[in-house]
């Protein structure tokens, strides 16, 4: 919690700019141009789902859509399509709301190891995530324009879940959809202004990992997941 050599450093900057240090609150100006707010504005949630679906094709992500009553079945299908034998998911109240606890119970009975990330388990969670072949999480906010899942991690939802396994499934309640990054940033900014701290880790995930570092050929699946599926679900 220490800060080193700040004063001499910042004094030098102010000096270079020919003025005294600015330590009083600097106000952000009202930007003359603000095009970001107009992107995809005025669209309904259903419209945004359509935008998301189109975007999934571009980002090598499988798109599924279902009602809340059928979610468990669709999820089971997707898990099977990935040949899932070891699953890891976050401890999330929505597991119960959407009837997934039951599904996981059933899967365990069928011999599919299904782990829920639990803070008490500590480092073991990471080891399990490393061994898992599928990571499953709900999306906390979903950016339609780019096809992006936003995850606000906490002690019950480790980064490793959506990062280490080869396959990633994001369950996207329709209400989480917003036009683009702008709305997410605005939300976090307001939170911070109101005194609420942001979590230690916030992820924006757009499909599986990829790279074009070898002869500019796009390779899907590098360090993060190789496959991704988004399941949009009607809210409960």
């Amino acid at each position: 919690m220490a800060i080193y050599q700040r004063e001499s450093f910042l004094n030098r900057l102010a000096d270079r700019m020919g003025r005294a240090r600015r330590t009083e609150a600097v106000e952000r100006p009202k930007w003359n141009h603000q095009p970001q707010h107009r992107v995809l504005s005025g669209l309904s949630q259903d419209d945004l789902v359509e935008v998301l679906e189109k975007q999934c094709a571009v980002i090598h992500t499988v798109f599924r859509q279902t009602s809340s009553s059928s979610l468990a079945d669709v999820l089971k299908e997707v898990i099977a399509s990935y040949g899932g034998k070891q699953l890891i998911t976050a401890k999330d109240a929505r597991n119960e709301t959407f009837g997934l606890d039951q599904l996981y119970h059933q899967l365990r009975a069928d011999g599919v190891e299904t782990h829920v990330w639990e803070a008490e388990k500590g480092k073991e969670n990471q080891v399990i995530a490393e061994r898992a072949d599928i990571g499953i999480t709900f999306s906390d906010m979903t950016l339609a324009e780019s096809g992006t899942v936003v995850l606000f991690h906490d002690k019950n939802h480790g980064r490793s879940i959506s990062l280490l396994p080869q396959n990633y499934i994001a369950i996207i309640p329709k209400s989480t959809l917003v036009p683009r990054y702008t709305q997410m940033a605005e939300k976090v900014h307001r939170q911070i202004e109101s005194g609420q701290a942001v979590g230690s880790y916030v992820s924006l995930i757009t499909g599986p990992s990829n790279s074009a570092d070898i002869e500019m050929k796009l390779i899907v699946g590098v360090h993060g997941p190789v496959h991704a599926t988004y399941i949009v679900v009607e809210d409960r």
Binding site: H33, T148, D154, R159, V188, H189, S203, P208, S211, V222
Partner: protein
């Protein structure tokens, strides 16, 4: 590595680049992809110019108030359990990081891509204290194994072909499969996954730090920055001091500009915002977080007419449109920052002595200025550099200086000017064949080595104009 790379002779480096056929065709096709990506992304957005203007506003405001925002950033990081070290020089930064690593008893570092760490030669400093450093960005890992510097700031190994990469993997890591990119990438995934899991220290650069919350945001497609920040217990983020934004709202604008201008994507696969150390009960994320804010010559640029060069968000859009870069490649610039932004920044950070050719390696076509998502007037900075080099520091060749003096006289003395224009055709007659000169004298020699030069036309314009007036009267 430091800023300088390659042989000290610019001419040699250019010649090498021009002769490297594979590299040139790779760079040309990469440029084409990147350029189209940016143009398509811009078109899709629909009002790209507005976005660029907003980007410029944000960067201007931030740099004008850099001391304020850096102070706010450091306060917020400290509030979240992080340590902040303000490093005036590369040596300061490296020394601090060496100490941190020693204190944390670090043996292995995994790094995500960071230009500033190359600039300060961090890897060498770590190896000095017996720490193993593993680059994890695919292109950077390949280069690390090959012991080569990057040639592009976003696609560092763009100059290598897959056979060269396969050979590197097989020589250095016992790779036995084909040169197919998918197989090479799979091998990298397996190898590096082990490194991620066994490393005790993670080191990243910083795409954008957010002052209001002490957040560091990293933008990748591979997921390596995520591994580096989630798995090891210690995280060190090295940040060029100008790489910050006031709030999350500006951060999303600049990330959106970066991903489109760099690779034509709306967003990359991973955008990760890390704030301080992991919280109680969390498993992923670091226990100890250190933010190292680096000056290393950037403050010299503040308060000068070059200040807007610090607006750069390292997207490489300028590099991707530069025709000079296309023909000579990144290494010819002799700096880890190549292309137009490299030609502007390198003399500012590392002096004119070793880099005076860079501002002249340009036709001032301004394609870079046009492409820059935050509207840095790159070509204007190049002209200013030339003024400093030629006039203020008098580093230009003596012959050139004399020619320019002659030019000034000629261009300000109408009598001399008119005379030379009248005499030009006659003067060049000895070298003229069929109204063209193929092997010219003096200043024309360089020209005619590559192309023909037209002989001055028979009828001088001024005589024609005078005579027709006479004819009318």
């Amino acid at each position: 590595m430091g800023i300088k790379i390659g042989s000290p002779s610019f001419k040699e480096r250019v010649q090498e680049g021009v002769e490297n056929e594979f590299m040139r065709s790779a760079v040309s096709s990469a440029q084409g992809r990147f350029r189209n990506g940016r143009l398509n992304a811009a078109e899709e957005l629909g009002n790209w110019e507005e976005w660029r203007s907003l980007g410029e506003e944000i960067r201007s405001h931030t740099l004008e108030n850099l001391d304020y925002y850096l102070e706010q950033l450091s306060e917020q990081v400290a509030k979240r359990g992080g340590h902040v070290f303000f490093a005036e020089t590369a040596e300061d930064a490296n020394r601090y990081i060496q100490e941190v690593v020693k204190k944390r008893d670090g043996k292995k570092v995994v790094k995500s891509k960071s230009m500033v760490t190359e600039e300060i030669s961090l890897n060498e400093a770590l190896e000095e204290v017996g720490v193993e450093v593993v680059e994890t960005d695919l292109g950077e890992w390949i280069l690390q194994l090959d012991e080569e510097p990057p040639s592009h700031i976003v696609a560092p190994a763009v100059h290598m072909n897959k056979e060269q990469i396969r050979d590197t993997f097989s020589e250095k890591k016992g790779y036995g499969a084909s040169s197919q990119p998918e197989e090479l990438a799979l091998f990298a995934r397996e190898q590096l996954r082990q490194e991620f899991l066994t490393a005790d220290i993670g080191i990243t650069g910083c795409n954008f730090a957010v002052a209001e919350s002490g957040t560091v945001t990293l933008v990748t497609n591979e997921g390596n920055a995520e591994m580096v920040t989630a798995l090891p217990d210690t995280l060190i983020t090295v940040m060029g001091m100008e790489r910050l934004v006031p709030t999350w709202e500006e951060m999303e604008v600049l990330v959106s500009l970066l991903t489109r201008a760099a690779v034509g994507q709306k967003l990359t696969s991973y955008i990760t915002s890390i704030t301080g150390t992991r919280l109680d009960g969390e498993v992923d994320g670091p226990e100890a977080f250190h933010l190292v804010i680096v000056d290393n010559g950037r403050s010299k640029i503040l308060g000068t007419e070059f200040q807007s060069a610090l607006h750069c968000i390292r997207c490489a859009a300028c590099i991707n449109v530069c025709p000079v870069y296309r023909h000579v490649g990144g290494h010819a610039y002799g700096s880890i920052y190549p292309g137009p932004i490299g030609a502007v920044l390198t003399p500012l950070l590392d002096g004119y002595e070793d880099h005076q050719e860079l501002p002249y390696a340009s036709t001032l076509c301004a394609a870079c200025t046009d492409a820059c998502p935050v509207k840095i007037p790159l070509h204007e900075h190049l002209i200013r550099h030339r003024q400093i080099i030629a006039e203020e520091q008098e580093r230009g060749p003596k012959t050139e200086k004399w020619m320019m003096k002659g030019y000034a006289k000629w261009a300000s003395t109408p009598a001399a000017y008119k005379m030379s224009s009248k005499m030009a055709r006659t003067a060049l007659k000895p070298w003229t064949r069929d109204e063209y000169i193929s092997n010219g004298p003096g200043p024309l020699k360089g020209w005619t080595e590559v192309r023909d030069f037209p002989a001055p036309e028979k009828e001088n314009f001024r005589s024609w104009f005078k005579n027709r007036k006479k004819g009318d009267e």
